[in-house]
Every structure is written in structure tokens, then in C-alpha cells.
Amino acid sequence: MTTTPGTQGSASGADPFDLHDVPWTAVSPRLATARLLVLGVWAVVLLVPTVALAAALDVAWLWAVPAVLAAALLWGALLVHRQVRALRYAERDDDLLIRRGIMFRSLVVVPYGRMQFVDVSSGPLARRLGIATVQLHTAAPGTDATIPGLPPTEAARLRDRLASRGEARLAGL
């Protein structure tokens, strides 16, 4: 692993992704649980047949397939917590900021006036864990403004707030 953990908290001017005096809000840690569960399902789906195949055929190199998969899954599992911790958002007066990623980092600024609509979605697993996803859509398909892992009340609040702010600052295209 070549990266150092995200420098959240250490409000250093050295990190360009830490815009000064922006109060970042972290998403719910339950998102990590959800992602780990999904990874677990994948582990079962991928590992069981490959292991069975390797065992049945008794070819030595076939074991490499589940081994590589297991390593990848393990690495993913180790990263999940840090990725979720790195996922943050901030509401400013005129725009919403979302930052994510540790190795490939991105910071998106979405002006409220540019918002076309807001989606709040929550799958069965997410509902059980009590989290929801808020997604902002602008007229640009490239805008990737998704905040997963929000508690439903926070998601609803954010949605209403975004909608009202969007209306107040509404602009055409």
C-alpha cells in the first residue's frame, strides 16, 4: 500500500482537499458495515465455486484463482473503513461539497442553483442498517454528487434543505 491515511482532522493548509474553514460532516459508519456485508456476499459467491472447482479438479495452479480473489477481497475489506471515513460532505451557503477516496481522491463542488433534482434511495440492506443515499443531479451527467450512508432523518433533512436552497438560487442552465 503506497498511500497514507486521509489527513482528515489535521486541518493542515498543506492538503489541497481540505478547504479551509469548511465544516466537514462524515457519513454514518454503518455504511462500512453495509459495504462489508456486500463484500461478504461477494466472497461467498466468488470463493465457494472457485474453491470447489479447484478441489474437484485437483489442479494445483487452480488454487491461485481463489487465492487471488481472497487477497483482493481482504484488501477491499481492510480499505472499507478508511474509505467510509474519507467520505465527507459539507453544506456551504451556496454549494454542497463532497469529498471521497483515499488513493484516488476527488472533491466535488455542486452549486445549489445548478441542482435539477435530488434522489433519496435506500435498498433493503441499507434500510435494515438505517442508512440512505442522497444523490444530486445537475444538467451535467459528469456530476457525481452521491452521498451514501446517511441516516434517514439526515437524508430527509438534507433533501429538503437542498431542494429549498436550490429553489432559492434557481438558475436556468
Binding site: P16, F17, F104, P111, T138, A139, P141, A145
Partner: protein
């Protein structure tokens, strides 16, 4: 099945609209299309089945059956189209264009005029021969959101376009008469359209004057042909042909030549597509925005109102460098990103540098710098810090050794200019008020080198603005400042009804009428720009 227009549940007021029908030839044109599609699908997809049928029936009877089926499909298609035509109506009101369609599944579509992104008059070959045209009203709703009025008589289509543009601009029929008299008289080559206007009654069939326009450039056919020759696909095919011929001669087997057929067909299609869309390409400036005319068999007249262009890109491949040709493309929210829509996204297929400047000026009359020509040169061919650009730092050579010196960004008073590409040069200009959202991206290598990429998101289209490998602090500062700048620019941006603005846009329109190359255009005074 009742063919009468039975209204779907709706407010009573809509019955009072002036509902109009499309041209009666429409079903014939549409039914014919359905028949061709049917024959093509059956012919290509089910030829085996057809052969079996022919074998069992015997040749004579098989032809009769095929003819009968084709005739039946033709009649059914025609009858369906005729019925669909009977229920299809449209109405233009002050605020919107309404369209009712659908025989079995009724659909009522309403396109708000203040959300209008572009108005196109399209004439496919057959319609053109019959003097008909199709009017496309593009709104920013993604694929398939356009209101298509097909087909109308050509004169009717142009009159309707003038009416819709006048309404969308916020001028009534009376005011429409007044507007041309202002800016037009100072422009020397006013369109004769100004002469035919006389104020009509608002309700019945008001006469709206088409806004005057003035041609600013035209693409000569020889240049188009040469530009196609100087592009990669023909050369690629030529090389492929030579290689295949040599190989098959050496191997003594001409079977390999058949591999070339798709390649040659593909290249032929590409060349034809380029010629067909680029032929007779003309651009004009008018108070209603940019007007583009092009097409050989299928002609297209586009009108993109002011402020509807979201981003511009000027690009040049290595083969065009010798002639200094540039392709100018635009993002317009209504056109979307699919192949058919891309036809509308070209502002100039092959521009000389001067024309590229004019094309850019069409979109953005004020580039927000004191010396636009000098800035344009720096953007098109400059390296490093030429023309005040902020270049990528030296450390970027580790991630992009070849075109590092071309990566650069310049913030002007009105737009963001992004420069990239050493061999495939590209310059993207995004007006500040058209920025949708912006982002900063950084990969592991970039992080090591303290670099970051700055991205602005634009509506679907050929242009995706980004600058790679800036110094990370420069990029972060740019992000911060750009979000502020975009906000301020939006606050002072013109209204959606572009003629409704007080004095300033009319002044702009006056400037448009007297089109000049960008060097001669002074920044518009008296307009609040930040």
C-alpha cells in the same frame, strides 16, 4: 377505433388554444419510412426463413406472397400513420409549445419556451423534394425530449420558428417588428425578413418577423474535401489496403482482401457523413443567437439562442496542423450526446484560425481579456506560461512527459480557458455562468508529485472540460475561486427571455448585427461583468 380527437384529462383552458395540424403528406412520408424499415429488417434478418418459404411455395407463388405481404405492411403502415396524423396536433402559446400525439397511447407534451435550448429546421431529402420541413424544439431533458413537429410546409416551419423564437425571447408580435428596426439599420446587410413584417392579430395568426441575421463565415467545399483527406480514417484505410494487397500477393491468396470490405465501407461511411453534414456549412449571427445551416442531402438549420452554449472546444489533429485548421464543437443542453445529436454540436467543421476566433466570438462576444487575438493564439498553439496561462508544473513531466507543457488554464473575466494536447491540440472555453459543478481529482501518482486535476462538468455533448496535472494548491485555489466566480456570473447573467433584458443585451444584439472578427470587438461597455 375512434379517430376523433378525444382529449385526455386536462385543464379546460387548453381547448382554447389554437390547435393546428401537421401537413397532410406527413403520413405518406412516415408510412413509407415504416415500409422501408420493415423490408430492410425482413430482408436482412430473416433471409433464411424467406428462402425456406420460397422453396416450399415455388418461385412464382413466393414472389406473389412477398409482394402481398409488402403491400399489406405498406397499407397498414400508411393507415396507421394517417390515423396518427389525424390525432396529432400542436399549439403555440405565449409560454409553451404543446404537442398531442398518440393513437393508442395518448401523449401530451409541453415544452416551456423559457427552457428552449435550440430550434432546428431539418429537411431530409424526400421532405425537401416535397418542400416540407421538420421543426425540432430542443429542451434540456436528455434523449428524446425534443418536441418534433414533422412535417410542416417549409414556409410554415420558418414562420413558426420565427414565432417561437420571438416568444421565447420575450418579444410579442408587435415588439418583434420594433426590434429589427433598432439594431438592423446599423448593420449593413440586414435580412430582407425585416421588410415583410406587419403586426398581425395576436390570437389568430400573428406575423412574427424573423430576427435579422448576418453571415459570419462559410465553409468552402474544397477545404472540406481536403480536410477529410487530411484526417486519419482515409489514410488508415489506405495503409490497410496496401498491406492487405501486399500480403495477399505474397501469400498468393486473395481471400484476405475480403477482410477489407468492412473497413472500406466504414471509411466510406465516415467520409460521406463528414461531407453530408459539413457541406454548405454557414454560420450567421442574429439577435436570436447563432444560426447554422448545413447539409447536402439532409439540410439542417439550427438556431441556438444566446447563452445556450454551455462549452466550446477548438481541436486540431496532427494532420491539420500544417493548414492550421480547427474543428469547433459546442455543448448545447438540448442536443445531448448520442450520434444523431452530435450533428448539431458542430459550430465549424474546418475553421481557419481567424474563423475559429469568429466562431468563439459567436458564443462568447466578450472573452474577458484585453487582447482576445493574442489570448487565442496562446491558447491554440502556446506552451507553458504563454498568454498568461497557468501551466502544469515541471513535476508533471513524470505523469505526462509529452504534453505537459500544453496543459494550462486561464481565467478571464467571463470564461475559463483550458488548454491541452501536444499533437491533438485542444482548447476548451467554458463561460463562468455555464459551469454546472466543478471537481478536483487526484490519483496516487499525482499525489506524490503534488499535482491535481481540475474538472468542470458540462451538459452532455462532445466537450468535457478538464485540466490535468496542475499544481495541487493552484488547482484547489482555482476550485475555490471558480465556484465563487460562477456564482457571481450567474447572478448577473441575462434572463432566460433574452430580449427582455433592459438595454445591455440589445446592445449585444446590435453588435451581433454588425459582425466583426474578434480582434475588432471591444468588450461590451456598461454591462456588469465581474
Amino acid at each position: 377505433m375512434s379517430t376523433a380527437l378525444r382529449p385526455v384529462p386536462e385543464s379546460a383552458g387548453e381547448e382554447g388554444y389554437d390547435w393546428r395540424r401537421l401537413h397532410p403528406v406527413t403520413p405518406a412520408l412516415r408510412g413509407w419510412k415504416a415500409l422501408v424499415a420493415f423490408v430492410a429488417i425482413i430482408g436482412f434478418q430473416m433471409s433464411d426463413v424467406l428462402r425456406d418459404v420460397a422453396d416450399t411455395l415455388g418461385p412464382g407463388r413466393a414472389w406473389l406472397v412477398i409482394l402481398g405481404v409488402v403491400l399489406l405492411v405498406g397499407v397498414v403502415g400508411f393507415v396507421y400513420s394517417a390515423l396518427a396524423w389525424r390525432v396529432m396536433r400542436f399549439a403555440v402559446t405565449d409560454g409553451a409549445v404543446h404537442l398531442r400525439t398518440g393513437l393508442l397511447f395518448r401523449q401530451q407534451r409541453q415544452a416551456r419556451l423559457d427552457r428552449l435550448q435550440a430550434v432546428d429546421v431539418v429537411q431530409p431529402l424526400l421532405a425537401r423534394l416535397l418542400g416540407l420541413a421538420q421543426l425540432n424544439l430542443e429542451v434540456a431533458g436528455g434523449a428524446g425530449s425534443a418536441v418534433q413537429l414533422a412535417f410542416l410546409r417549409e414556409s410554415e416551419a420558418t414562420a413558426l420558428r420565427a414565432q417561437i423564437l420571438a416568444l421565447a425571447a420575450g418579444v410579442g408580435p408587435q415588439a418583434a417588428v420594433a426590434v429589427p428596426s433598432g439594431p438592423v439599420t446599423d448593420g449593413d446587410a440586414a435580412s430582407p425578413a425585416a421588410a415583410q413584417d406587419h403586426p398581425g392579430a395576436v390570437a389568430a395568426a400573428p406575423v412574427y418577423a424573423a430576427a435579422p441575421e448576418r453571415q459570419v463565415y462559410e465553409l468552402p467545399m474544397p477545404r472540406l474535401i481536403r480536410s477529410i483527406l487530411w484526417s486519419v480514417p482515409p489514410w488508415f484505410v489506405l495503409v490497410a489496403v496496401v498491406v492487405a494487397v501486399v500480403v495477399s500477393i505474397a501469400a498468393g491468396d486473395i481471400g484476405g482482401m475480403f477482410v477489407l470490405i468492412p473497413a472500406v465501407l466504414g471509411a466510406g461511411g465516415y467520409v460521406w457523413g463528414r461531407i453530408n453534414t459539413g457541406a454548405t456549412f454557414r454560420a450567421a449571427a442574429s439577435p436570436d443567437g447563432i444560426r447554422l445551416r448545413h447539409g447536402l442531402t439532409e439540410t439542417r438549420t439550427q438556431t441556438v439562442p444566446p447563452g445556450r452554449v454551455q462549452a466550446v472546444r477548438l481541436s486540431q489533429g496532427p494532420l491539420w496542423r500544417r493548414n492550421d485548421w480547427w474543428k469547433v464543437e459546442i455543448n448545447v443542453a438540448g442536443y445531448g450526446a448520442d450520434a444523431e445529436a452530435q450533428k448539431g454540436s458542430v459550430l465549424h467543421p474546418v475553421a481557419t484560425r481567424a474563423e475559429a476566433g469568429v466562431a468563439l466570438w459567436l458564443v462568447l462576444p466578450d472573452l474577458g481579456v484585453d487582447d482576445p487575438a493574442c489570448m487565442l493564439d496562446a491558447a491554440l498553439t502556446g506552451l507553458d506560461g504563454d498568454g498568461g496561462f497557468t501551466p502544469a508544473p515541471r513535476s508533471a513531466r513524470w505523469v505526462d512527459p509529452l504534453s505537459r507543457r500544453r496543459h494550462g488554464v486561464l481565467v478571464t473575466r467571463t470564461a475559463l480557458v483550458m488548454r491541452s494536447g501536444r499533437w491533438w491540440r485542444s482548447v476548451v472555453v467554458v463561460p463562468h455562468e455555464r459551469t454546472q459543478s466543478i471537481a478536483l481529482e487526484q490519483g496516487p501518482l499525482q499525489r506524490r508529485l503534488h499535482l491535481a486535476s481540475f474538472v468542470t462538468h458540462s451538459t452532455p455533448g462532445p466537450v468535457s472540460p478538464r485540466v490535468d496535472h496542475l499544481d495541487q494548491h493552484v488547482a484547489a485555489e482555482l476550485l475555490e475561486l471558480q465556484s465563487r466566480r460562477a456564482r457571481q456570473a450567474r447572478a448577473v447573467a441575462g434572463p432566460e427571455l433574452w430580449m427582455r433584458a433592459a438595454a445591455a443585451p440589445i446592445g449585444d444584439a446590435g453588435q451581433v448585427a454588425g459582425a466583426q472578427p474578434p480582434q475588432a470587438v471591444a468588450p461590451v461597455p456598461g454591462e456588469p461583468r465581474t
